[in-house]
Symmetry: C2
Subunit: 138 residues, 2 copies
Protein backbone atom coordinates (compact mmCIF):
# COMPACT_ATOMS: atom_id res chain seq x y z
CA UNK A 1 0.00 0.00 0.00
CA UNK A 2 2.75 2.44 0.81
CA UNK A 3 5.07 0.83 -1.67
CA UNK A 4 4.81 3.71 -4.09
CA UNK A 5 5.11 6.36 -1.43
CA UNK A 6 7.95 5.27 0.79
CA UNK A 7 9.86 2.28 -0.55
CA UNK A 8 10.11 2.45 -4.30
CA UNK A 9 11.85 5.80 -4.67
CA UNK A 10 12.19 5.29 -8.36
CA UNK A 11 11.66 8.45 -10.31
CA UNK A 12 11.88 9.71 -13.86
CA UNK A 13 14.74 11.87 -15.10
CA UNK A 14 12.87 15.13 -14.48
CA UNK A 15 12.46 14.33 -10.80
CA UNK A 16 16.07 13.18 -10.49
CA UNK A 17 17.10 16.46 -12.12
CA UNK A 18 15.17 18.53 -9.60
CA UNK A 19 16.43 16.44 -6.71
CA UNK A 20 20.05 16.81 -7.73
CA UNK A 21 20.19 20.24 -9.39
CA UNK A 22 21.63 18.53 -12.47
CA UNK A 23 19.65 19.15 -15.65
CA UNK A 24 18.01 16.21 -17.39
CA UNK A 25 20.14 17.06 -20.40
CA UNK A 26 23.31 16.66 -18.41
CA UNK A 27 22.14 13.48 -16.68
CA UNK A 28 21.73 11.89 -20.11
CA UNK A 29 25.08 13.28 -21.16
CA UNK A 30 26.85 11.91 -18.07
CA UNK A 31 25.35 8.53 -18.80
CA UNK A 32 26.48 8.71 -22.43
CA UNK A 33 30.09 9.35 -21.45
CA UNK A 34 30.03 6.63 -18.82
CA UNK A 35 30.24 8.91 -15.82
CA UNK A 36 26.96 7.41 -14.63
CA UNK A 37 25.98 3.77 -15.09
CA UNK A 38 23.20 3.14 -17.58
CA UNK A 39 19.91 3.95 -15.93
CA UNK A 40 17.20 1.39 -15.53
CA UNK A 41 14.32 1.78 -17.95
CA UNK A 42 10.57 1.38 -17.84
CA UNK A 43 8.94 -0.75 -20.49
CA UNK A 44 8.32 2.41 -22.45
CA UNK A 45 11.99 3.32 -22.36
CA UNK A 46 11.85 6.01 -19.66
CA UNK A 47 14.96 6.20 -17.48
CA UNK A 48 14.42 5.43 -13.79
CA UNK A 49 16.50 6.71 -10.90
CA UNK A 50 16.64 5.81 -7.24
CA UNK A 51 18.09 7.53 -4.18
CA UNK A 52 21.55 6.13 -4.81
CA UNK A 53 21.56 7.61 -8.29
CA UNK A 54 20.45 10.97 -6.94
CA UNK A 55 23.20 10.79 -4.36
CA UNK A 56 25.74 10.26 -7.11
CA UNK A 57 24.28 13.12 -9.12
CA UNK A 58 24.56 15.43 -6.13
CA UNK A 59 28.17 14.36 -5.71
CA UNK A 60 28.85 15.27 -9.33
CA UNK A 61 26.99 18.53 -8.99
CA UNK A 62 28.96 19.55 -5.93
CA UNK A 63 32.24 18.58 -7.54
CA UNK A 64 31.34 20.59 -10.65
CA UNK A 65 30.49 23.58 -8.46
CA UNK A 66 34.02 23.36 -7.11
CA UNK A 67 35.30 23.45 -10.67
CA UNK A 68 36.51 19.87 -10.97
CA UNK A 69 36.61 18.69 -14.60
CA UNK A 70 34.46 15.69 -15.42
CA UNK A 71 37.47 13.43 -15.92
CA UNK A 72 38.66 14.20 -12.40
CA UNK A 73 35.16 13.65 -11.10
CA UNK A 74 35.23 10.23 -12.72
CA UNK A 75 38.25 9.42 -10.57
CA UNK A 76 36.74 11.01 -7.48
CA UNK A 77 33.63 8.89 -7.89
CA UNK A 78 35.76 5.75 -8.11
CA UNK A 79 37.63 6.75 -4.96
CA UNK A 80 34.39 7.56 -3.19
CA UNK A 81 33.13 4.06 -3.95
CA UNK A 82 36.38 2.39 -3.06
CA UNK A 83 36.58 1.61 0.64
CA UNK A 84 40.28 0.90 0.38
CA UNK A 85 41.12 4.29 -1.12
CA UNK A 86 43.75 6.42 0.51
CA UNK A 87 42.77 9.96 1.46
CA UNK A 88 46.16 10.97 0.06
CA UNK A 89 44.87 10.31 -3.45
CA UNK A 90 41.84 12.50 -2.94
CA UNK A 91 43.91 15.26 -1.38
CA UNK A 92 46.40 15.06 -4.22
CA UNK A 93 43.68 15.48 -6.85
CA UNK A 94 42.19 18.37 -4.96
CA UNK A 95 45.45 20.21 -4.52
CA UNK A 96 46.32 19.79 -8.17
CA UNK A 97 42.98 21.29 -9.02
CA UNK A 98 43.66 24.15 -6.62
CA UNK A 99 46.99 24.76 -8.33
CA UNK A 100 45.28 24.88 -11.71
CA UNK A 101 42.66 27.31 -10.39
CA UNK A 102 45.36 29.51 -8.91
CA UNK A 103 47.22 29.50 -12.21
CA UNK A 104 44.13 30.70 -14.03
CA UNK A 105 43.38 33.26 -11.34
CA UNK A 106 46.87 34.69 -11.59
CA UNK A 107 46.56 34.86 -15.36
CA UNK A 108 43.31 36.78 -15.14
CA UNK A 109 44.60 39.04 -12.40
CA UNK A 110 47.48 40.04 -14.65
CA UNK A 111 44.97 40.95 -17.35
CA UNK A 112 42.92 42.95 -14.87
CA UNK A 113 45.99 44.80 -13.65
CA UNK A 114 47.03 45.78 -17.15
CA UNK A 115 43.53 46.75 -18.22
CA UNK A 116 42.87 48.83 -15.14
CA UNK A 117 46.14 50.63 -15.63
CA UNK A 118 45.32 51.38 -19.25
CA UNK A 119 41.74 52.39 -18.48
CA UNK A 120 42.94 54.63 -15.69
CA UNK A 121 44.96 56.61 -18.19
CA UNK A 122 42.09 56.82 -20.67
CA UNK A 123 40.03 59.98 -20.57
CA UNK A 124 36.87 58.15 -21.42
CA UNK A 125 35.29 61.13 -23.08
CA UNK A 126 34.31 62.03 -26.63
CA UNK A 127 37.91 62.44 -27.77
CA UNK A 128 39.46 59.64 -29.86
CA UNK A 129 42.82 59.53 -28.10
CA UNK A 130 43.00 56.29 -26.16
CA UNK A 131 45.93 54.63 -24.42
CA UNK A 132 44.08 51.32 -24.50
CA UNK A 133 44.00 51.24 -28.28
CA UNK A 134 47.56 52.56 -28.32
CA UNK A 135 48.62 49.59 -26.25
CA UNK A 136 46.77 47.09 -28.41
CA UNK A 137 48.27 48.65 -31.53
CA UNK A 138 51.73 48.12 -30.05
Amino acid sequence: MNQDMTIGREMTIGHAAKSSAVSAKMIRHYESIGLLPKAQRTEAGYRLYDDTDVHTLRFIQRARSLGFPLETIRTLLALWRNRRRSSAQVKELSLRHVAELERKIAEMQAMVRTLKHLAHNCHGDERPDCPILDDLAG
Copy 2:
Protein backbone atom coordinates in the same frame (compact mmCIF):
# COMPACT_ATOMS: atom_id res chain seq x y z
CA MET B 1 66.64 45.69 -57.20
CA ASN B 2 65.72 46.05 -53.57
CA GLN B 3 62.04 45.81 -54.33
CA ASP B 4 61.77 42.34 -52.86
CA MET B 5 63.81 43.19 -49.82
CA THR B 6 62.52 46.52 -48.65
CA ILE B 7 59.39 47.64 -50.43
CA GLY B 8 57.15 44.74 -51.25
CA ARG B 9 56.67 43.42 -47.74
CA GLU B 10 54.16 40.92 -48.97
CA MET B 11 54.52 37.60 -47.28
CA THR B 12 52.83 34.24 -47.08
CA ILE B 13 50.71 33.17 -44.15
CA GLY B 14 53.58 31.37 -42.42
CA HIS B 15 55.64 34.53 -42.29
CA ALA B 16 52.66 36.60 -41.16
CA ALA B 17 52.09 34.03 -38.44
CA LYS B 18 55.65 34.32 -37.16
CA SER B 19 55.58 38.11 -37.37
CA SER B 20 52.37 38.36 -35.39
CA ALA B 21 52.49 35.38 -33.03
CA VAL B 22 49.12 34.30 -34.40
CA SER B 23 49.10 30.79 -35.83
CA ALA B 24 48.40 30.32 -39.54
CA LYS B 25 45.40 28.26 -38.52
CA MET B 26 43.95 31.13 -36.57
CA ILE B 27 44.71 33.69 -39.27
CA ARG B 28 42.61 31.64 -41.68
CA HIS B 29 39.94 31.28 -39.03
CA TYR B 30 39.83 35.02 -38.33
CA GLU B 31 39.42 35.62 -42.03
CA SER B 32 36.64 33.05 -42.24
CA ILE B 33 34.62 34.75 -39.51
CA GLY B 34 35.20 38.19 -41.00
CA LEU B 35 37.47 39.49 -38.27
CA LEU B 36 40.11 40.03 -40.94
CA PRO B 37 39.38 41.17 -44.49
CA LYS B 38 39.93 38.54 -47.16
CA ALA B 39 43.63 38.29 -47.87
CA GLN B 40 45.06 38.93 -51.30
CA ARG B 41 46.05 35.82 -53.18
CA THR B 42 48.85 34.81 -55.51
CA GLU B 43 47.92 33.19 -58.79
CA ALA B 44 48.40 29.84 -57.10
CA GLY B 45 45.92 30.77 -54.37
CA TYR B 46 48.42 31.49 -51.59
CA ARG B 47 47.33 34.22 -49.19
CA LEU B 48 49.49 37.32 -49.10
CA TYR B 49 49.93 39.70 -46.19
CA ASP B 50 51.55 43.09 -45.86
CA ASP B 51 52.70 45.14 -42.89
CA THR B 52 49.24 46.55 -42.31
CA ASP B 53 47.81 43.05 -42.05
CA VAL B 54 50.53 42.04 -39.61
CA HIS B 55 49.78 45.15 -37.58
CA THR B 56 46.15 44.13 -37.36
CA LEU B 57 47.13 40.60 -36.40
CA ARG B 58 49.33 41.88 -33.61
CA PHE B 59 46.44 44.02 -32.40
CA ILE B 60 44.25 40.94 -32.26
CA GLN B 61 46.97 38.91 -30.57
CA ARG B 62 47.49 41.52 -27.91
CA ALA B 63 43.77 41.86 -27.30
CA ARG B 64 43.43 38.08 -26.99
CA SER B 65 46.31 38.03 -24.51
CA LEU B 66 44.28 40.45 -22.41
CA GLY B 67 41.38 38.03 -22.55
CA PHE B 68 39.06 39.97 -24.84
CA PRO B 69 36.61 37.71 -26.65
CA LEU B 70 36.75 37.82 -30.44
CA GLU B 71 33.42 39.61 -30.73
CA THR B 72 34.70 42.41 -28.55
CA ILE B 73 37.90 42.51 -30.56
CA ARG B 74 35.79 42.96 -33.65
CA THR B 75 34.38 46.11 -32.11
CA LEU B 76 37.78 47.25 -30.84
CA LEU B 77 39.21 46.92 -34.34
CA ALA B 78 36.40 49.02 -35.73
CA LEU B 79 37.02 51.68 -33.10
CA TRP B 80 40.75 51.55 -33.75
CA ARG B 81 40.11 52.28 -37.42
CA ASN B 82 37.52 54.92 -36.75
CA ARG B 83 39.14 58.32 -36.30
CA ARG B 84 35.92 59.73 -34.92
CA ARG B 85 35.64 57.15 -32.15
CA SER B 86 35.22 58.31 -28.59
CA SER B 87 37.71 56.97 -26.07
CA ALA B 88 34.69 56.51 -23.80
CA GLN B 89 33.53 53.61 -25.93
CA VAL B 90 36.88 51.87 -25.68
CA LYS B 91 37.08 52.46 -21.97
CA GLU B 92 33.55 51.15 -21.51
CA LEU B 93 34.34 47.91 -23.34
CA SER B 94 37.52 47.47 -21.35
CA LEU B 95 35.90 48.03 -18.00
CA ARG B 96 33.09 45.65 -18.81
CA HIS B 97 35.70 43.07 -19.64
CA VAL B 98 37.47 43.79 -16.37
CA ALA B 99 34.20 43.28 -14.51
CA GLU B 100 33.71 39.93 -16.23
CA LEU B 101 37.25 38.88 -15.38
CA GLU B 102 36.77 39.89 -11.77
CA ARG B 103 33.55 37.92 -11.61
CA LYS B 104 35.32 34.80 -12.80
CA ILE B 105 38.25 35.42 -10.48
CA ALA B 106 35.95 35.72 -7.49
CA GLU B 107 34.18 32.51 -8.50
CA MET B 108 37.45 30.62 -8.69
CA GLN B 109 38.74 32.14 -5.47
CA ALA B 110 35.67 30.84 -3.68
CA MET B 111 36.41 27.37 -5.04
CA VAL B 112 40.04 27.64 -3.93
CA ARG B 113 39.01 28.75 -0.45
CA THR B 114 36.64 25.84 0.00
CA LEU B 115 39.06 23.29 -1.43
CA LYS B 116 41.96 24.49 0.67
CA HIS B 117 39.82 24.32 3.76
CA LEU B 118 38.73 20.78 2.97
CA ALA B 119 42.23 19.66 2.01
CA HIS B 120 43.60 21.19 5.17
CA ASN B 121 41.38 18.89 7.20
CA CYS B 122 42.29 15.84 5.15
CA HIS B 123 45.01 13.64 6.57
CA GLY B 124 46.33 12.80 3.15
CA ASP B 125 47.66 9.43 4.22
CA GLU B 126 46.77 5.82 3.49
CA ARG B 127 43.56 5.95 5.49
CA PRO B 128 40.28 6.20 3.56
CA ASP B 129 38.63 8.84 5.78
CA CYS B 130 38.43 12.03 3.81
CA PRO B 131 36.57 15.26 4.53
CA ILE B 132 36.81 16.20 0.87
CA LEU B 133 34.78 13.19 -0.20
CA ASP B 134 32.49 13.73 2.78
CA ASP B 135 31.78 17.23 1.53
CA LEU B 136 31.15 16.10 -2.04
CA ALA B 137 28.87 13.35 -0.80
CA GLY B 138 26.85 15.97 1.06
